[in-house]
Subunit: 322 residues, 2 copies
Amino acid sequence: MSYVLGIDGGGSKTTCILMNCSRQLIGRGEAGASNYQSIGIEAAKKSIETAIKESLIASNMIQNIETQNTQVKAICLGLAGVGRPKDIEVVKNIIQDLRDNGSLPITWNLQPHNIIICHDALIALVGGIGHNVGIVVAAGTGSIIFGRNSQGKTKRVGGWGHILGDEGSAYKIAIAGMQAALKSYDGREINSCLLADFQQHLELANIEDLVDVIYRRGWDVKKIAALAPIVDRAAAKGDQVANKIIDDAVEELFKATSTVIEAIFQPGEALEVVTTGSVWGSSGIREKFVNAMVEIFPGVEVILPRFEPAYGACLQALGSLI
Amino acid sequence: MSYVLGIDGGGSKTTCILMNCSRQLIGRGEAGASNYQSIGIEAAKKSIETAIKESLIASNMIQNIETQNTQVKAICLGLAGVGRPKDIEVVKNIIQDLRDNGSLPITWNLQPHNIIICHDALIALVGGIGHNVGIVVAAGTGSIIFGRNSQGKTKRVGGWGHILGDEGSAYKIAIAGMQAALKSYDGREINSCLLADFQQHLELANIEDLVDVIYRRGWDVKKIAALAPIVDRAAAKGDQVANKIIDDAVEELFKATSTVIEAIFQPGEALEVVTTGSVWGSSGIREKFVNAMVEIFPGVEVILPRFEPAYGACLQALGSLI
């Protein structure tokens, strides 16, 4: 029997799925980060190797990974921040090393076109929808909107990171919430419960101590993004300032998605839009987005992810075998 | 003869002015950063010591600092980011050390109330206006609006740093410019010359390489803020997107200043507002701000700084002698 490997490599976790040629999930494994730009090539390689190994162990067929062999005919890696030819070369070398060093009980049977290195938005799209036509609206710590039409044409909007973009992301919602709280404290903004809510959640004696939290404690983007639900809950309570922030986030996500639709799809074309990421955990945000979407684009259906990105990577790998 | 020292301590430079009791500038010296939170207490102490020494050398009266003595009766230090009692304690200890170690040819004759440690916005106000009533609208890399009325009541708006605030600052204008350029590139925003302008200025093969500049080359807030004139020039050329960014910045600075006026001044009260910082180097921004100000607050006169912050620190020090 022959198999494919689909890998979703991110800044905090790497997931690998082993799939057979009938699209059946055989094994699934996880490991640490594999963003080589942050953690270095050796650490990224180790994470990818561990995730593959774990997927082999998890598969029922392989009881003892030392002695068994699995024939792998295609591999697809979707990796955050990998887009430029230089990045792709680095990741291809990682795969070559894993093949050469023999540390995995795998019989590699790969043609060059069966090694696919792509942006993580593509595998999120393919996994989320279950095939490779549609749009993924990813809004977690960061945000990116990525679409592919039936002719294979793709369009990306956003994904510029927390300083240059990430509109509608959890990071941006959290930051907007804190900025509004401080403006309210200054007297520049109408009163908002965000002031008390952030103070209470972060256990601050005074809202001025936010400065300590953000600049001196070295909070990273992920940790700040995790504060977004404070804004979401304040909006649900009816806070006007928080609702404005949520509406702005929905507007940004809507505008970005519209741009992708208008760029590569026909007017009125039936199409699925999959939402992924923590921001959609807020029922308020998702409902507002869905309402705006179906009103302007009647052919659009907004869905929840059918499969995870690593599964999408497997489908991409299978696609290369045809 | 007796003197006072006024020190303006910042994140990249420390300035010291030696003044006599007739408000005459006797000497002026500069040294490196004295923000102890970034560079440590010893380095901050060294910068303050050097700036004082340089001001003594620069004064004509002291030809040989080894043998001459200057009697200092008051000292005021205005320091960025110094507000909490803990910070003030640290800076007081630095002054105490400088007095004790005898490295400066100064006869210290200080009562506790003649040692003034304050926020740098206060000395910018006092220096900029020439006395301690009015408002300073500081918009450089960051932004803060600070006012003091004739009863001594103060009000601060903004100054929350580049992540939590700094609306209307050069950093925020530069970031908004790059975000707009990328939105324009994505097709989410109308065409703007900002796209070509940033690409050309930063010598990028492709605007996507902005990601490299901002995230991988480790550009700090100051270096990013220095890109604000690109937006300013685009606005002057008539670019609609750039003009919106400039208008938003003016609106933020206006709103923050209005908040200070309404908090501590009487309606219609005559008052001077001094503008400091690189943002005001743009004639477009300053003109828009002045027009909005005098329209809504007829008693307000917007002025350029009369003296520098270190001079303001001297005036504060002199004030403690009365």
